[in-house]
Symmetry: C2
Subunit: 313 residues, 2 copies
């Protein structure tokens, strides 16, 4: 096993906004950069800002027919009979034709996909592959630059819970998730954090392309274990809400026996797992329809080898 | 001028939820009380919980065709030709037939209309008429019971900015607005505050009906002066966001020269009014489409005479 991983330079980079049309930080930034690109320009990198779901952005809604951030699987990307496809599947095929094809050599090197959440997750990076040394190094760099601000890393490679994201067409997909921000508004503090993450990501790519070697590193990540559903009444109505002790406590340790829900008639429901976990996406608005009250994760340490650009000067 | 105002007992009371279908505290409480009414029952008062915009609630959206909370004006309530009416105007006519007719003796005595906002307004009561001694006394009672929690009162009787609310069909309309809460989620802390406001309102009505006299009182209210618009680019896009010094500062004093917006290219826009004001509805999600960044108000003191029930035992 080599102790260094080498890659071609990263020349094709995209910044996606509006994958969910009511998550406005990315929409506003991408629209701004489409007209004023200086901030995201880096030498010898084609950095392309792009609104992925323009109809959902226009309507300020998450999606038109189906969640765009769930349909980049081979089956949807291959579907024919254009007349019967949902707006988002058609759009996914188009995006794949421009920035992919997914899994091919021609695919974009890096896609930063900008999202917001109503959960108190702060600046969060989402990793899809724990063996992708390049992306681990990138995340490690961003995390260090963001300090003393917290920048957490969520690892989702759960066999059932991983989903086919828009960014997954890139060789190195980067999910950027910043909260708390209600849907359909823009908060200056959240906008600033997202802007910082993008800046540091692009700075890393520039340094990398110019031949800088990044030494081996460890990265603390929160690995997705399970989604926790809302208690429901027989008619489907929500029977309990996130307990006030859990609200806004994303990433903090949750121990067995601690409260997670309050029922409308005043009872407390506690966490009955076997060991301490770290909840995240606590009370995310878009996950009510997916019946996810929060996601539980486990803190683990990833290791990446040294990375370097193969044919830099 | 008498130093006491007398009223008939308040027998017909409604609690409205879902006037905006994605403001979930009221939706959840009203749905709960429709099945478990003990909490809102008071002797000799018909307290009726009611979902005003069920289709918008079903879709978890503010409205279907038009804002239900703006169409209770005589023109809309009188419109014929049912086929061409928007869903909400038809619904307004139905609600008016059940709880009104607006302005008539048969109209409900009190309607509490439950709303949420993304602004950091805490528990807020909205008053529509500064000469309605009964409602001022009710608000004064609720405010005192809520202490040490803040409960602010917004007075909207501005000749251009007052709008035809759903609750306005009652003799004594009570707007209940609790935030901050993102659209489409339920926060336990916000739910608790709304529940307390409703409890104290009903307690007041019970005491009032039983003959308790409420002595003259003063009530501090924030009177609506003006809505402040977002700066826009030529293409209509938002050119600036609420400045971080103003975000979450609802009700606090804003002085001329203090920052109110940040532009996307880093400039600060300051407040250029002539005197100190108190902003509210700062960064409310639903007001982007109305192009209202925030509302400025002036703090004034209202006075109410003593109120008593005319024919109590």
């Amino acid at each position: 096993m080599a102790d260094r991983t080498v890659y071609n330079p990263m020349r094709k980079v995209a910044i996606f906004g509006g994958t969910h049309g009511n998550e406005l930080s990315g929409v506003v930034l991408v629209n701004h950069w489409l007209k004023h690109g200086e901030e995201i320009a880096r030498p010898d990198i084609d950095v392309r800002p792009f609104i992925t779901n323009p109809e959902a952005v226009e309507k300020c809604t998450r999606y038109i027919d189906t969640d765009l951030n769930r349909v980049f699987d081979p089956e949807n990307l291959r579907k024919e009979n254009k007349l019967n496809l949902s707006y988002e599947v058609k759009r996914a095929q188009y995006i794949n034709s421009v920035f992919g094809p997914k899994g091919s050599d021609e695919a974009y090197d890096v896609i930063l996909d900008l999202h917001n959440t109503t959960a108190h997750m702060g600046a969060t990076l989402i990793l899809e592959n724990s063996r992708d040394d390049f992306t681990i190094q990138l995340f490690n760099y961003i995390k260090k630059c963001m300090a003393p601000l917290t920048c957490s890393v969520l690892l989702n490679e759960h066999p059932q819970l991983k989903y086919a994201t828009t960014r997954s067409i890139a060789k190195h997909p980067v999910g950027v998730e910043v909260g708390p921000q209600p849907q359909s508004i823009i908060r200056a503090d959240v906008l600033d954090k997202m802007r910082m993450v993008v800046k540091y990501a692009l700075d890393f790519l520039k340094d990398f392309n110019e031949g800088k070697e990044f030494p081996p590193c460890n990265l603390e990540v929160y690995k997705v274990l399970e989604n926790v559903a809302y208690p429901r009444k027989e008619n489907g109505d929500i029977a309990a809400v996130i307990h006030k002790n859990l609200q806004d406590q994303d990433w903090k340790e949750l121990n067995p026996g601690e409260p997670i829900f309050s029922t409308l008639d005043g009872k407390t429901i506690t966490y009955e797992g076997e060991c301490a976990v770290h909840p995240t996406f606590v009370n995310e608005a878009a996950y009510y329809e997916k019946n996810q009250a929060f996601t539980i994760t486990q803190k683990i340490l990833l290791t990446a080898q040294s990375v370097r650009c193969i044919n830099s000067k």
